[in-house]
Amino acid sequence: MTASVSGWRDRLRGDVGFRLAIAFAVLVHVPALFAPFIIDDFAQREMTQGLYAPGDRGPFALYDFIDDSNRAALLERGVFPWWTHPHLVVRFLRPLSSFSLYLDYRIAPRLAWWGHLHSLLWWAAATLLVYAILESSFTRRIARIGSIVFALAQCHVIPLLWIANREAIISTATGAAGLLLYLRWRRERRARDAIATFAAFCLAMAAGEYSLCFSGYVVAFEVLRRRESFLARASGLAPFVVPAAAYLGLRSALQYGARGGGMYFDPFWNFGAFLADAPRRFSVLMCAAWAGVDDEMLLAQRWWVVMGVAVAAAALLTVVVAQTFRSVEEPVRREASWLLGGSVLAVVPVLAVHTSARLLGAAMIGVSAVVAVVLDRAWFPERAQPRRGMAELTATLALGLAFIHFVRAPIAGLAETQFRSGIGDAIERRMAWVRERAAGRSAIVVLRAEAFATALFAPCMLDDVTLPWRVLSYEAGRVLVVRSGDRSLELIASPRPIFQMGADEVFRGMDGSLHAGDSVQLTGMKATVLQLDKDGMPKRARFDFDKNLSDPSILWLRETAAGFEEQSLPQRGQGEPIVP
């Protein structure tokens, strides 16, 4: 028995255990293959077909969602709702990622699994490269533990089930390749490695702005790892800095970026807003990366709760990491230190985006490395550790880290995949229901929208680019529809507003707030804000149409949690509530 127990343990420590763990990670992510297209995917598919304004755009611009060239057309069609900021720009310089999507939609425009499989291959490549990075810095066992942590991380869930978000994985994979070559270049100082590093980081930048996260690692490496002159370190950075600077220059010159909305705080457009919300976003991302705290749940809390959780998590992590670093050999400590520093700095570039665990791909490389060092030390000590005092506390905290990254992450990942796939399926069913009723209509008006996908890009699911889609309110609570005239109606929302503006709202940030009396004119419809609530959000709005509202060619809908339903309008001068 002793022999067999020992043999099992050795096998678990060795290849079999590692392969089983990687196979488990693949199994965790395989359900993403069955996810449907979601939100942006429909828009990008239309772009490849030349149906999305302003028409044919080529393979490298699939992340150009809205700017001056197509904003008016998109609002007329209803791809973006009527309250969209008049100068909203959402366009990203991601030619490589865009090209990968273009290929997918040209090869298999209706097969979501094809796109997911493509994303899964990038995830596999990223995992392999992370393993290579860790193996170049640590023992094989640490590299194995770290790559399992990385492979299971929850940050991959959304990029794997949302095809449009593939750029996050491509950036991580290509950036990891760049980092691996960078380490070789800095350790061996061969010119060919510098060139290869430069090429890899060029590729990474072409994947998207997430690759800028790798600046954290190269800076941390030069600051914490290298003991050379300032000049030598500065020149060492060149293979990263040159492509990064070129990317930023090109991005700025070509007017890429995001402005007008509240979902992105582009530091180049609005540094103040970026800085004001940065501590909260940073805390949430750190808690999600290290402690597995649910990002959406934490983001919804008051700032002092966020800070409290962040401080508590940081204190516990400091104990376990400091204890571990104290007990490991100097080379391991040095390598782990720059990876730790890099993982923290890697979060900074993504503070510009609506906070989500999906942004943590690059940061997870360092997190995985440090967690692996901690677990390696706790689980495979060179000599037996006392099971009392600080050693026992460290072992307990290490177990907590293992739980977060080996248990919680895959379970939460599976649940999230199932949840978001379910939402995607529900949206497809809803829009199929609408398509059945859309034939012969002159417009579709949604009095109250519940799902984000109804407010954004929904017309891309209608198979009719000429049919206007009007969403009048979104995520409002109870809405009272008042028929104020033959051609006009008013919406009064309570207790939530007709729509939200401000931080984390994609259509309109607070810098472009609508006021009472402001109106938006679209073909066939004019929307006027009549009253704001105490938070400055629209509570009441009037909608004047060109046609009589009783015209049967207009399809009136309401959306609740159960789906769409046809809505009959009240008689003139009367109202009818829509209850969620």
Partner: protein, 420 residues
């Protein structure tokens, strides 16, 4: 007393009988009468686990009472969290399986075959008296519905778990479902051991135990899939309470006893490795993480989550943690669970289980209702106070049962055993 003890220590050295030297016997008799007949202390950490099981059951029933019976304004999130900790009962099942399994394994080892008659005698005298007393008192003192009258026989013959315990007004002591399940298990388990020892190899025996363990899950799965219309209540009545769908926790205990009995030393050596301990901890933590979030995979998956949770996940979780505690792998948790206080509480655990629900309904939740509804006390104060009060009152009542019912019957049992 100190003098008396000292005398008793010295006397054997003179080769004299200890019974001779009891100069002040009356206080000692009284003390013996009122002192606890403490549980076996071979595995002290298991007492702490029993305490956790008792505490989890008590808090669960307080929340149930507040939310559905009384009802009181309890926060939905808190009540959901509290009711998700339903698995204390399964710990009792696993520990029962382990302890009964250990007894029978020792018996088989010493006598060659299981001493069935002795086993039944011990179980009957240990569990029947207090149960029948409480059941009879409740049946006599409470106004019973027709259904309760009709089903009373089920409770007297330990078939409560087949009497739809979740439907109100059906049974006098619906919480007796778990005692019924255990009694049915006690009835069958000696024969299981006789069958087990028909096999010669460990592999064959473990295959049988494992087959029976997985069998309960298969029964649940088949029943669930063939009855898609079952609602929550039906799932409880047909999947949660019956012995044939819930035997896996008890089988996990038997498996634990067998593994521990056969390979104690190698397992202890294996658990010297922190990695091995972490593997067991992570397995258990994965189970508890899933158990605490039955809605993690959505409302549609709740049925299949219950099928998996009600026995399979709980037994894996308790198997892993108990194995750690039995073999010194529990660290500070083990030390905490081994505190002497828990041994006393664990000794009274059976009685606490018998009496806690009547006390909750008649006293604690009424007082809580007055405090919350009439005096405006906040629930974050009332709920924990109610749990602690119920635990304390139940311990007091259980102590009475122990002294006046359980101990006398245990004495009779010992004499009967001596005669047999």
């Amino acid at each position: 007393m100190r003098r008396l003890v000292a005398t008793c220590r010295i006397l054997p050295a003179y080769g004299m009988s200890a019974t001779v030297a009891v100069p002040r016997a009356e206080p000692a008799v009284m003390r013996r009468f009122f002192e606890l007949d403490l549980l076996d202390n071979r595995y002290p950490a298991l007492h702490g686990m029993r305490f956790l099981a008792i505490a989890s059951i008590v808090q669960y029933h307080v929340t149930m009472n507040f939310k559905y019976t009384r009802p009181l304004p309890i926060d939905d999130g808190w009540s959901a969290l509290s009711l998700n900790v339903f698995f204390g009962m399964d710990l009792f099942f696993v520990l029962s399986g382990f302890l009964i399994g250990s007894i029978l394994l020792r018996s088989v080892e010493t006598s060659g075959t299981a001493n069935v008659r002795r086993f039944y005698l011990r179980r009957a005298f240990r569990t029947f008296p207090a149960y029948y007393l409480v059941l009879t008192l409740l049946a006599v003192l409470l106004p019973l519905t027709d259904a309760q009258h009709r089903h009373l026989w089920l409770e007297y013959v330990y078939l409560t778990n087949y009497g739809k315990p979740l439907i109100p007004g059906q049974l006098v002591m619906p919480w007796g479902w778990s005692l019924a399940l255990e009694e049915q298990f006690y009835l069958a388990v000696p024969f299981l051991f006789l069958l087990l020892y028909k096999f010669r190899t460990d592999r064959a025996r473990l295959t049988l135990i494992g087959g029976l363990w997985i069998g309960a899950l298969l029964v649940r799965v088949v029943l669930y899939l063939t009855h898609p219309g079952w609602d929550e209540v039906a799932r409880y009545n047909y999947l949660y309470y019956p012995t044939h769908t819930r035997a896996d926790t008890l089988m996990a205990g038997i498996a634990l006893a067998y593994v521990q009995h056969r390979w104690r030393a190698p397992i202890a050596r294996w658990l010297e490795s922190p990695f091995s301990r972490a593997l067991l901890h992570l397995t258990a933590l994965a189970c508890v993480w899933l158990l605490m979030q039955p809605y993690k995979f959505g409302l549609k998956a709740i049925g299949i989550m219950q099928v998996l949770s009600w026995g399979t996940l709980t037994s894996i979780m308790y198997f892993a943690w108990t194995l750690l505690l039995l073999n010194g792998g529990g660290g500070w948790v083990q030390r905490a669970l081994s505190l002497p206080f828990f041994r006393k509480v664990a000794t009274l655990g059976y009685g606490v289980y018998l009496v806690h629900l009547p006390i909750c309904g008649m006293i604690v939740s009424r007082v809580a209702g007055v405090l919350v509804l009439q005096h405006g006390w906040p629930m974050p104060v009332v709920w924990p106070a109610s749990v602690v009060s119920l635990l304390a009152l139940s311990l007091v009542a259980s102590y009475g049962l122990h002294v006046f019912v359980e101990k006398p019957f245990l004495r009779i049992r010992d004499r009967l055993q001596g005669w047999t």
